[in-house]
Amino acid sequence: MENLPEDRPITCRDTTWLVSAARDGELDEAGHAALQKHIADCPFCRDASQQFTDLFRSLDLLLANDRPK
């Protein structure tokens, strides 16, 4: 993932970029690690992350997607 901030911890807003990048198959290991670390410490992002997971699963069902992204 490009543009992960190097001078500060990532914010909740940053995590939504990482979630979107992950959906497009563009998140590297460092991005995944940063996302998981933030989610572990942030109850809002834990909720949001689960909501995104449920949303993406529903989108795949609605749009009859059966291929990995």
């Binding site: 979107s20 992002c45 689960q50 949303l55 529903s58 749009l63 009859a64």
Partner: protein, 189 residues
């Protein structure tokens, strides 16, 4: 050709799915005539290949898969790229989701989760479909090129004549807006 559909034993089932297919095609193609055409082609293909539909997947999913191919064919047939005007979308909704320090805004954050019952899942799909229709026309088209047609980012960017960076911003905003819309709907599941 239309007679083939009307006279088919499954015509009532197909007619039931037509509005969903038309909404999806219209979101993707943006032009009603084109959307009507690909849906008609989809239903004709379904009638011709009905014997191959073993009922293992829901009818809607089978038709949605056929429609995907018809839409891709329609894009290829056009052979022209359509530059999209994406500059006029308001960021107010997204800005309201976060505080200045980048944290979620507790006043606007919705923590609903969708119940896991079958009925709730069915309603959830309806909520997601409704929310898709609330995306702006151009965002919806780009979003569905990626999420429905499965086009790579560089292909979508090229089709829309925008940079990949811009496309990532648009997809990110579309996903944020969808989440925001859908979680409010989950409160009704």
């Amino acid at each position: 050709m239309a007679r083939q559909i009307h006279e088919h034993p499954a015509s009532a089932l197909l007619a039931e799915e037509r509005p969903f297919l038309l909404r999806l095609a219209l979101l993707q193609l943006g032009r009603r005539d084109d959307a009507e055409d690909v849906v008609q082609e989809t239903l004709i293909a379904a009638v011709k290949n009905w014997a191959h539909f073993a009922g293992q997947a829901p009818l809607r999913a089978w038709l949605t898969g056929i429609l995907r191919h018809k839409i891709v064919d329609s894009f290829r047939a056009r052979r022209e790229h359509v530059a999209l005007d994406i500059e006029n979308e308001s960021d107010d909704e997204i800005e309201g989701m976060f505080l200045e320090n980048g944290s979620w805004n507790p006043e606007t954050f919705v923590s609903n989760h969708c119940p896991q019952t079958m009925e709730a899942q069915r309603q959830l799909l309806q909520v997601v479909e409704l929310c898709l229709n609330h995306l702006s026309g151009n965002s919806a088209r780009l979003f569905l090129m990626r999420e429905y047609l499965g086009m790579e980012l560089n292909e979508v960017a090229s089709e829309a004549q925008i940079s990949e960076g811009n496309l990532r911003v648009i997809l990110h905003r579309a996903r944020l807006r969808l989440r925001s819309c859908v979680v409010r709907g989950w409160g009704e599941c």
